[in-house]
Amino acid sequence: MEMATEKTGDVTVVVLPGEQLDASNAKDFKRDIAAVLEPRGKFVFDLGGLQFIDSSGLGAILSCLRRLNADGGDLKLCGMSKPVRALFELVRMHKIFDIYGTKEEAIRAFVK
């Protein structure tokens, strides 16, 4: 999976590729995102293109958060579609992640 990234200051925004993140591609995603994540990095995942996510996809994103937190970095999420947001809420992950409506809001939250 090609990860499109853009830097705003010291915040890296990753636009998650594809419309779905499920058991069929969660492993690939974990492998490819590992190359992008760096210690003490400030990351925003833009989930705007994602129409569907399942428990495996959610687990993959959760693994990114845990890894960044362990290395002194952080991760914020933005641009969730309704079904994606619904799953995060179903398993109460909206309390674990910092979630913002837009990427600008997410970046601003890092600057504060």
Binding site: A23, G59, L62, A86, I96
Partner: protein, 554 residues
């Protein structure tokens, strides 16, 4: 008064003395005879003095049975030999005999013997009265019933065990649960086990949701052998059915007569060798065409309640029971059914129930009961039948097992839409599974399914399918999964059929919501996304996961 001459007096005295000597000798003889009898009686005998309850006699059988010599016993009381509570028990019985002035029968008393451990006696105690009318002695006669008691206990234990084993065979091997979720039919079954199990059995096979096979059978004989024969016969039917299904053209079912003929060919020789036979009724209900094809092999006459006329017809076939003649060819009979019609199958334990006068319950009474209560639910109908049999025989228990199966044809609820696809167990197919769900939902006639419901169904389907691929099929991508969807007025039912490992929902750990675990949410997500999740097997033995989502009332 004139004196008798001396010689006469002497002669009389002489005679008196002789008579006395003779009488004494006779008494001596009688006494020694009695002694000898008492002594040699094969039962234990003792005599106690009524005043102080000390032993005055103690025969040989007592000596042998209790290991106490008469020399040691005479002049002593029970308290000198036996533990206090036993001696107390004996003394209490003695007092009851003496105070009541009559015999007391003690069916069982425990006694601690010196050389043979704890023994059990059956004892009779009798008072012997003196000239003053008061009890002078107490005679006790005892019989050692220890061995008999043990044998009886053994026998009772063995019987109990047989009943227990029989009951377990019946519950696990002979009786199946009637299906509950089949549209177009309602089924209820009842068994009242008797003290000695029969080989009554019944089984149900569903063919998709279109047909239901009901098999009821009764093995000649009783006890565990009959139960095992019942179980064996039942499994031969299942084997015959699955063999013929595998040979049948796709979408068709083997005929009941062919299933019975094949099952019989497997089991006939064994039954003939064991000199047993089995009566069976194999009935296939076609729920779409509303008819039943049945093969009656000497079983009790099936009762057909016809809702429209409120009358009962008797359905009987011409076939022999299984195990009567090898190479028998079985024939089937077709009867059309209407909604509300009931077919009642039962074992002869029901019709052969007798009342106090020895009369049989019989098929007429049974048919009348069905006619009166045929409009009830099958469960309620069967309960009425049970009550009628109980009232007739005036007993809650029966000599034979009483089994009864009622099948009622209902107005069939047809799905508004239905679809199926087959896909491989490759994770890349998950998207196709979601597209399938979305397509079905979109094609549903009004009212449309809302977007949130579709999303939840997509999610539940993805999680279930991915569980099957990753766990049931252990990640192998070359296996098959069949998906089906049925939409009803009030609910949507998604099903996944697969041949992978069986899944135990009980074994799943609850999810952790604190972010410390990256997995373990799948089952929880499924449960939260639909209204009902069921794991079972379908009619082809495949594992089946059913996801039911209620449609919102508009």
């Amino acid at each position: 008064m004139a004196m008798k001459p001396l010689d006469t007096q002497l002669a009389e005295h002489q005679r008196t003395a002789e008579a006395l000597a003779r009488r004494t000798a006779e008494l001596e003889e009688a006494r020694s005879f009695l002694d000898s009898v008492l002594e040699n009686l094969p039962v234990m005998l003792f005599v106690k003095d009524a005043r102080d309850l000390r032993f005055v006699r103690w025969n040989r059988a007592e000596e042998e049975a209790l290991g106490i010599d008469r020399a040691a016993a005479i002049g002593k009381s029970d308290y000198d030999f036996f533990p206090p509570e036993q001696a107390g028990f004996f003394a209490a019985k003695d007092r009851a005999v003496l105070e009541g002035g009559r015999m007391v029968d003690i069916p069982e008393e425990a006694i601690q013997t010196a050389h043979r451990g704890l023994r059990y006696l059956h004892t009779i105690k009798v008072p012997v009265f003196g000239a003053d009318g008061k009890p002078k002695y107490l005679v006790g006669i005892s019989e050692d019933i220890t061995e008999r008691k043990r044998a009886q206990e053994e026998l009772a234990r063995a019987r109990e065990q047989e009943v227990e084993i029989g009951f377990r065979i019946q519950q696990t091997l002979l009786l199946d649960q009637p299906p509950r979720d089949l549209p177009g039919v309602r089924v209820a079954a009842l068994t009242i086990p008797s003290q000695r199990i029969d080989g009554d059995f019944y089984d149900f096979f569903k063919h998709m949701d279109r047909c239901l096979d009901v098999i009821v059978g009764d093995v000649m004989g009783k006890g565990i052998p009959a139960a095992l024969l019942g179980a064996a016969t039942k499994s031969h039917f299942l084997q015959a059915l699955s063999r013929l299904i595998s040979l049948a053209a796709p979408g068709t079912l083997p005929e009941p007569k062919d299933i019975v003929t094949l099952a019989h060919s497997e089991v006939a020789r064994q039954l003939i060798e064991l000199e047993s036979f089995v009566t069976v009724c194999y009935a296939r209900f076609d729920l779409e065409k509303r008819r039943v094809d049945f093969v009656d092999c000497g079983h009790t006459t099936t009762i057909h309640f016809q809702a429209r006329t409120g009358t009962c017809a008797l359905l009987r076939g011409e076939n022999l029971p299984l195990g009567v003649r090898e190479h028998e060819i079985y024939e089937q009979v077709r009867v059309t059914l209407e909604p509300g019609d009931v077919l009642l199958f039962y074992s002869d334990g029901l019709t052969e129930t007798r009342n106090g006068d020895g009369e049989l319950f019989g098929i007429e009474r049974l048919a009348e009961c069905v006619r009166q209560h045929g409009h009830l639910d099958p469960e309620a109908l069967i309960d009425q039948i049970r009550q009628a049999a109980v009232a007739f025989s005036n007993s809650e228990t029966f000599g034979d097992d009483l089994t009864c199966v009622a099948v009622r044809i209902e107005e069939r609820e047809l799905p508004l839409a239905r679809a199926e696809i087959e896909m491989s167990s490759d994770l890349r197919e998950l998207e196709r599974a979601r597209d399938f769900v979305r397509d079905v939902c979109r094609k549903i006639p009004a009212p449309p399914v809302d977007e949130e419901t579709i999303s939840q169904l997509e999610l539940a389907m993805t999680e279930a399918a991915s569980n099957v691929m990753r766990h049931a099929y252990r990640g192998r991508g070359d296996q098959l999964i069949q998906l089906s969807a049925e939409v009803f007025e009030d609910r949507i039912v998604l099903r996944l059929h697969h041949l992978g490992g069986t899944f135990d929902p009980e074994a799943v750990k609850p999810p952790v919501f604190d972010g410390s675990e990256e997995g373990g949410f799948g089952m929880y997500i499924i449960a939260q996304s639909v209204d009902e999740v069921r794991y079972d097997r379908d009619e082809r033995g495949r594992n089946r996961i059913s996801l039911v989502k209620n449609r919102r009332a508009v």
